[in-house]
């Protein structure tokens, strides 16, 4: 479904990703783990078109998306839940979700999608008239995920969904992501919380200082060695 071939990318003189190749098949859940600064966020940004790669190619369902702007990529069916959630704090929860359905195709199915998102995250329905900035961290993350689902994506990119959340909330959130998965969405998730994320996904990649170091089935990788490497990069 998604194929990255020899992607090199960075910011200015700094190169964050070196020659990265990665695949995600339809219906799969894949994690990219690694220590801070490994290039995980950059990887998702390249996929969603927030930054253009310097070299390499990116295709989705057989269509070349290399260097296409973000607003075109989302129309192809890739929704990105960015690092730090990036919800619109001054808009209401309902307006945030409405913006998730900005695409013409998504507007037509707005009511249906809203019902689906409220089914997954009932708390968003309760708080729909509240300003998004007034939600708790966990609720804001649910809103960010819900907003991404409003565009009816085929692939959902999640950037550190557990970041800044209390441990109890982290467990709840992973539960919710599991439910999102069961709805049939393909997921590519970037996480520092390795132990939790390996329980969620089918496969995982280890990214270290911009290079992909290891790849394998999640259950096999849940071994001590991989987890240690992902945490400390040794």
């Amino acid at each position: 479904m998604l194929a990255l071939r020899n992607i090199t990318a960075g910011y200015g003189a700094f190169t964050a990703l070196w020659d990265v190749s990665l695949d995600v098949a339809t219906g799969e859940a894949v994690a990219v783990v690694g220590p801070n600064g490994a290039g995980k966020t950059t990887l998702l940004r390249v996929i969603s078109g927030m930054i253009a790669p310097r070299a390499g190619s990116l295709s989705f369902e057989g269509i070349q998306l290399t260097g296409r702007p973000a607003y075109e990529v989302v129309a192809r069916g890739i929704a990105h839940v960015p690092e730090g959630r990036r919800i619109f704090p001054m808009l209401t929860v309902a307006d945030n979700l409405k913006m998730g359905a900005y695409l013409k195709t998504a507007r037509r199915a707005y009511a249906e999608n809203l019902e689906r998102v409220f089914g997954l995250f009932p708390v968003l329905s309760e708080r729909r008239r509240q300003r998004a900035g007034s939600l708790s961290g966990g609720e804001q993350q649910m809103l960010a995920v819900g907003r991404a689902l409003m565009s009816r994506p085929k692939l959902v990119l999640l950037d550190e969904p557990s970041m800044g959340l209390a441990p109890v909330m982290v467990l709840r959130l992973f539960d919710l992501i599991r439910r999102v998965r069961e709805e049939g969405y393909t997921i590519l998730v970037v996480e520092q919380n390795v132990r939790q994320v390996l329980k969620l996904v089918d496969r995982a990649y280890l990214l270290e200082a911009g290079h992909l170091k290891m790849e394998g089935r999640a259950d096999a990788l849940a071994e001590q060695d991989f987890v240690r490497k992902a945490y400390v990069g040794l």
């Binding site: 929704a79 307006d95 913006m99």
Partner: protein, 288 residues
């Protein structure tokens, strides 16, 4: 002692002027909030639109409402033009360059108007009655201007509140990058914002020409006042700009009656300086 009726009249006139000022402040603020650039030449676009209404109505004999509609359309076109020709090429550059570029546009428009139409003051002579309410004499032109300004602002509110594009405009002013992830082309959002901001300038022009004569330096008279209102309300804050418009217009209007017109402006500017020391983020702005 001043007759209280004069004070009341001044207060009402201040309110009426505030409505038109609010249009200008909201237009400028909308553009700033979304594109993060202050259009120094904003009121000079109003000046160009005022000339358009003047020529259509006074020279070619069009009805004022039709001239006004043309002014709105012209304003929107000018807004789009300014964005495409001046702002868009320098979007990524340092803020000072953007200020200088729109400042340059100001001098261009002033000189352009002086060259084409000389420095004569021109006004539309539409005879509108003065009405007397409880001893106060109020100009019908100002009442109409106020009513139209309020209606247009209500329309703007509904647009920003209830349409996809309007909500996207508010969203972009909070997080530019995230809106692109929703599938909105930032360029389209910028163009719509510029067109709406320009259209507001066009509306203001049609209302101002009923009360003031137009000349190439009209922008110099109302431009600084508009910027002060935006800053006083908290740059980018629409509700703040709306309230600040009425505060400033009341200070000018009442100060003008109690002392003199010039003193009215002096007091307003001093008030502005004091307020900026007291609340640097504006009356409704976030505290730093």
């Amino acid at each position: 002692m001043i007759d209280p009726i004069f004070l009341a009249e001044a207060a009402v006139n201040g309110l009426l002027l505030g409505g038109v000022l609010a249009l200008l402040a909201l237009g400028l603020n909308l553009i700033f909030g979304v594109i993060d650039i202050v259009w120094i030449a904003y009121v000079d676009l109003v000046m160009i639109c005022m000339y358009a209404v003047y020529f259509l109505v006074q020279v070619y004999g069009w009805p004022i409402w039709l001239g006004g509609l043309i002014s709105v359309g012209l304003g929107a076109l000018l807004g789009v033009g300014v964005h495409l020709l001046i702002i868009s090429p320098i979007l990524g550059s340092a803020p000072i360059n953007q200020l200088l570029a729109t400042g340059g546009l100001l001098f261009f428009l002033q000189s352009f108007a002086t060259f084409l139409w000389t420095t004569d003051h021109r006004s539309v002579r539409v005879t509108l009655p003065t009405i007397e309410i409880g001893g106060m004499f109020l100009s019908f032109a100002r009442l109409i201007a106020f009513a139209v300004a309020l209606l247009v602002m209500l329309g703007l509110y509904l647009f920003l509140r209830h349409t996809y594009v309007g909500t996207a405009i508010r969203a972009v002013s909070q997080d530019r990058g995230a809106m692109a992830l929703m599938g909105a082309n930032p360029r389209v959002v910028y163009l719509v914002t510029s067109a709406v901001g320009g259209a507001l300038a066009g509306v203001a022009a049609a209302l101002l020409i009923l009360q003031y004569s137009v000349h190439p330096f009209f922008g110099a008279a109302f431009g600084p006042l508009t910027f002060m209102i935006c800053v006083l309300g908290g740059l980018g804050n629409m509700v703040g700009a709306f309230i600040a418009s009425f505060i400033m217009s009341e200070v000018i209007s009442i100060g003008g009656v109690v002392w003199s017109t010039e003193m009215g402006y002096v007091i307003a500017f001093v008030f502005f300086v004091v307020m900026i020391f007291a609340r640097p983020g504006g009356i409704l702005g976030k505290r730093a």
